[in-house]
């Protein structure tokens, strides 16, 4: 390609040296400028074959090359997508390393005989206490159910309409919310202080 360019340039230069005499003769003879050999060479300079060759190659190969690159990227993306997503680790289930340290182990206590006896007897006492408590609870609930059953019986004897009204479920009862007993009673007219906090929980994305 470079040889062709140089050849073209040589041709142009040779024609240029020959040109001035021709131009004056042409001007003299005809009275107007016509397409002499110099103009012809300039025109051919613009459309010479070697110079035409470069842009032609760009048009053909580059779209193909770009397409190839795009396809390769798509294939890579598909491969990445096929990989299953990483499971989010549950931080509660992993024991932190500092608790696996052996220096932290407390020595096993040497209990005297009386102490171990006392513990065994206390545990048995506790199970007996809990058993009586459970029995009392079950009895109380049984009595309450019996009382309700009797009430419905009496109501049925009275009037069927009221009985049916009593059997209907109450849609407004649920959801039922109640604050259970706390250790200390609530303060009257207590305003909780507003505070700023930094939330440092780790958020995982899949």
């Amino acid at each position: 390609m470079s040889i062709a360019v140089s050849r073209a340039l040589c041709r142009v230069l040779s024609r240029q040296t020959a040109v001035p005499t021709n131009v004056s003769s042409l001007m003299g003879v005809d009275g107007h400028v016509s397409q002499g050999p110099w103009f012809a060479s300039v025109l051919t300079l613009k459309t010479s074959a070697p110079l035409r060759a470069e842009p032609k190659k760009k048009k053909k190969v580059d779209p193909r090359r770009e397409q190839m690159v795009r396809e390769r990227l798509k294939k890579k993306l598909k491969k990445l997508e096929r990989v299953p997503p990483e499971l989010i680790p549950i931080e509660d289930f992993t024991t932190p390393a500092k608790y696996m340290d052996e220096t932290r182990v407390r020595g096993a206590p040497q209990l005297p005989f009386e102490e171990s006896e006392r513990r065994a007897l206390l545990l048995k006492e506790w199970s007996r206490y809990k058993q009586t408590q459970h029995r009392a609870e079950m009895e109380a609930v049984g009595l309450a159910v019996e009382a309700q059953r009797e009430a419905l019986e009496e109501l049925r004897l009275e009037s069927e309409e009221l009985y049916q009204a009593a059997l209907r479920p109450d849609p407004l009862l649920f959801p039922f919310n109640h604050q259970g007993p706390s250790y200390t009673p609530p303060k009257a007219q207590y305003e909780a202080p507003e505070g700023k906090y930094n939330n440092i929980t780790k958020v995982y994305t899949q």
Binding site: L122, E137, V141, G142
Partner: protein, 292 residues
Amino acid sequence: MAAPCSRMANRPLWRFITNVRRTGLKHTGVRQISLSSACRAATQTRSKTEGVPSPWKLYGAVCLQRLPVISQERNPIEDQFAELMHQMELERSLLSDHEQRLLEDSERMTRKQADNYDSDEEEADYGGQETITAQDQEDTWEQKLKHFQPALRDRDVGGTPLGSVERCLGDSLVLLVQQTVGKETIWLLPQAQWEAGETLRQTAERGLSSLPEADFKATFLGNTPCGVYRYTFPKEVRTERCVGAKVFFFKAFLSAGSASQKEPFLWVKKTELQRYLKPPYLEKVDRFILNL
């Protein structure tokens, strides 16, 4: 036609069973059989009572309970057991950071007091700073705790009057009012007479809202009565039409409310009920008031 009718008759029974379950009562397995037998007996008598008005007057009463606000004090055995559990957990645990610091500090002290103590080595390790030992920190914390005065849990120590809702905060209390029934004025659960065109639950709600100078906001637990008290009038009042009265009780939890101290209200625990209620009435009422 017969098949769909029988299905319709069975549905209220099923609904009732689910309703009973929802109100939190157990032992429905046993109750189902007895319920169906009661229903069968009732259907036989139903044909009799439909045409004739019943000779019993109906009342709707409300058993309004204020649920406990604070947890109860521990029994001696519960106290002992809690202590034992705490001790056992401590024995099975690992050393905490603070305890490790204590051990390290004590070791360092023994090393300092030993003969071949190399203070340069120690200072190189710890940067030569005056560190506060863990023992010192513990002492300062104990001092602070001594100066702290926690507020009283149960403000009842002074002996609040029986009519106040702020009474025994650890127990559930029931509301009692004084009403005239017949000739006497007695303490009972607030009740009102049933009027035609309303359900018994509405009667109970009316009985609660009609209490003079009281503003109680209650959540009624379902449409089913929890108990019944049937009594016959004394002979002079008894007529052909009304032989006696049946009082149906409904349970409710107090959500908010206030009452003036002038009106005769009482908030009593289950154990104190016997001081105010008449024995036959108490017998029936005691069954459904749970102290749990």
